[in-house]
Symmetry: C2
Subunit: 290 residues, 2 copies
């Protein structure tokens, strides 16, 4: 069994980007982050993104708007960043307050600066296999984990557990596209699937993104499966100071006995998302300076 | 075995639309068709679309541009239709001459008038399960055939054979979405799939869109499968005056022995595409007059 080390793979990508950015003459890519309110998780995520941007040598800007910001004011901020030629990529940190529609907000970001990949145009481009679009960071990270750990998907059966817009569906579209990784037979299953184990046990590659702790058990997979576990679930653990620990959607202990490759949680898909955000930002810069 | 009669289902939709349009007060929906060149198949398709539009009581306009039209002139025509408040829907008939990029052309049509559903924004909306978009006519027709013939997809295994942007992928996305029909476990397989028969034989519903005559044989499906055959292939037939006949991607004679439901070719998916184009045009009109 080979552990797919998300921290190490993310670190490789960050190092590659750092080298690439150091070789740029003149202006550097800039990522602008818009944060609404003071949600502690959002504050922490945004800080992590800014730190990584700084490490790579990207410029970074932070725009903090109050929790009760009007849609008009938020959109005016986005518009200003859309038209600012120094800004390569824009990230509006989710979740947004309830009075602001997330889809509408993500679509306000210019597709060419939408490094989060949530704009409808970029989702359409993914479906059309148009490489000029940006792929959302989690599915893009999954592709990198598969590619860089040498998992072959060509003609293989990839089973995606979960049909969300931000993980399940884009991951499925990426795995079926003509290319490497890709060219897979892809099955998307979900909460409504009848006899789930009969599907998951066919998987050569299993991408679990269903949001249920330890949901995929050892008897649901076949020997030699490669497993990408997207789930990050808190479960109670009295032995920890915090009172909880993080587990994935996959019962790691049991499934790792049968798997050829498997991502741990934490330390698998998680670290990849920030790396892919930076990757998209450097790409956005290069596309606008080509 | 129940034959899914595409002609009859298309006719029902056309009658429903005719009634709906007759009840509209004031202006009627208008479809504008742009045809480039004199390709005989295109001439025939466009005539069929216009005749159906007239039957329903829609206004129809035909703009014929020469085979050697410049991109600028074609786009100027599209722009004029985009801004014309009387035009509800715009169809640019494919194929276009080689010197004009089809994707760029389809994206020139405003998403809100893109009744063909080929604009990147409408493909993204399909992926996002945003019902304000337009679904391309062939996959939209497949959904209607399934729904109106009483085939249940909830929790069932739908196997889509083919991964094209215009049929396979949108059909897969429609079958996995939350809704009716939908909520299916969906597998997309294609030319690179290993052991294809082991996949197709799991199908409760099989959507064949691979473009190979009589490709799906009786031993590739299980008893009780519902089959939607999207293929329209010419094969030689010396007994016909024309010297050929049309067959689907499915060996109808053998597969119909095992199927619970099956579409014939011709007379299955084919007639649905024009009906769905009209359906989308009426929807576009209503959305712009809501």
């Amino acid at each position: 069994m080979k552990l797919i080390d998300g921290n190490a793979i993310a670190e490789s990508i960050i190092e590659e980007l750092t080298k690439e950015v150091s070789q740029l003459l003149g202006k550097k890519p800039v990522i602008a982050v818009v944060r609404v309110g003071e949600d502690p998780a959002s504050v922490s995520y945004v800080r992590k993104k800014q730190k990584t941007a700084e490490r790579i040598g990207l410029g970074s800007r932070l725009h903090i708007l109050p929790e009760d910001v009007s849609k008009a004011d938020l959109f005016a901020q986005i518009d200003a960043l859309n038209t600012d030629p120094d800004v390569s990529g824009i990230l509006v940190q989710a979740p947004l307050p309830k009075h602001i529609d997330e889809t509408e907000t993500f679509n306000r970001v210019l597709p060419s600066k939408d490094v989060d990949g949530f704009n409808t145009v970029n989702i359409g481009k993914l479906c059309q296999e148009d490489d000029s679009g940006f792929v959302a960071c989690t599915p893009a990270g999954i592709v990198q984990l598969i590619e860089r750990s040498g998992v072959n998907t060509e003609g293989k059966h990839v089973v995606v557990l979960g049909r969300s817009q931000i993980v399940g569906k884009p991951a499925a579209l990426l795995m079926m596209r003509k290319g490497v990784p890709g060219n897979a037979t892809v099955t998307v299953c979900h909460s409504r699937t009848a006899d789930l184990a009969s599907i998951t046990s066919q998987a050569d590659v299993l991408i679990a993104a269903i949001g249920r702790p330890n949901f995929v058990t050892g008897d649901m997979v076949k020997d030699g499966v490669a497993v990408i576990d997207v789930g990050i679930n808190r479960i109670e653990d009295a032995t920890r100071k915090s009172g909880y620990r993080l587990v994935g959607d996959v019962d790691f202990e049991a499934v790792s006995q049968k798997a050829s490759h498997i991502t741990p949680v934490p330390g698998g898909v998680g670290p990849m998302t920030v790396a892919m955000l930076m990757y998209n930002t450097v790409r956005a810069f290069k596309a606008s300076h080509a």
